[in-house]
């Protein structure tokens, strides 16, 4: 699946997008943040306060307990500040 990062999450991770294949033990958006954080300290820094991070699956907002099965694009970003 494709993962995208925006704003300071993108800066901390150090890339705008990547393709990943998490193991089957990663069920939810929250699991995915934890799995990425365990891989590398750049992710751990980006996701150090997981409750602050917002996520979207296939262009729709989701909560951390949302299942990632079947998702083609997952995005992580800070609270939005548009308008």
């Amino acid at each position: 699946m494709k993962v995208k990062y925006f704003a300071w999450v993108r800066e901390r991770v150090g890339k705008a997008e990547e393709t990943i294949e998490p193991p089957s033990s990663v069920h939810t958006v929250g699991d995915l943040m934890a799995w990425l954080s365990a891989r590398d300290e750049t992710y751990a820094h980006a996701f150090e306060k997981p409750k602050v991070i917002r996520a979207a699956i296939d262009h729709a907002h989701v909560k951390a307990d949302a299942a990632i099965a079947g998702a083609s694009e997952i995005a992580f970003f800070p609270p939005m500040t548009g308008g």
Partner: protein, 155 residues
């Protein structure tokens, strides 16, 4: 009846008068047009801002705004809606966002414009970065924007 809706995410500026004219072109049934323009402020909390740079999530930005435009047209008797949100570097005094709503009577247009702006602030995937004399920094989300959006939640 399907309500004409225009949603554009663009780097270039927009012309408010032209957008109002476009929304009302070739029709005489509209009685009220409300517009909201959001501009880049220069002074912000004691800092002088040289510019804002807006990052967005292409694809989701359009989808999220459309979801809220669809909700607005189902909640209020609107005759037309236009939402334009810019991205890229924007200097003080320049336009950032435009919401235009049209209805037979003013109340629906006023309320729908406010509803759309409240949700654009908290749900549309855009992020502002400020340029100040001290460097660049991401703007933090404000609790009062969440509270403004929450008041539209149906009980």
């Amino acid at each position: 009846m399907r309500v004409p809706a225009t949603i554009r995410i663009q780097q270039s500026d927009f012309d408010v008068a032209r957008e109002i004219a476009a929304l009302g072109a070739d029709r005489t049934d509209i009685g009220a047009v409300v517009t909201f323009s959001g501009l880049c402020r220069g002074p912000e909390g004691g800092d002088a801002i040289a510019a804002l740079t807006l990052e967005h999530y292409p694809g989701m930005a359009e989808a999220e705004i459309k979801r809220h435009v669809d909700e607005a047209t189902s909640r209020w008797p609107l005759q037309g809606v236009t939402v334009i949100h810019r991205f890229g570097r924007i200097e003080p005094g320049q336009n950032i966002v435009l919401v235009v709503t049209a209805s037979k009577h003013r109340q629906a247009a006023f309320e729908a414009a406010e509803f759309l702006m409240d949700y654009l602030k908290t749900s549309a995937p855009f992020w502002k970065q400020e340029e100040t004399p001290d460097g660049k920094g991401w703007v933090e989300a404000r609790a009062h924007d969440d509270a403004a959006a929450a008041r539209w939640t149906k009980s």
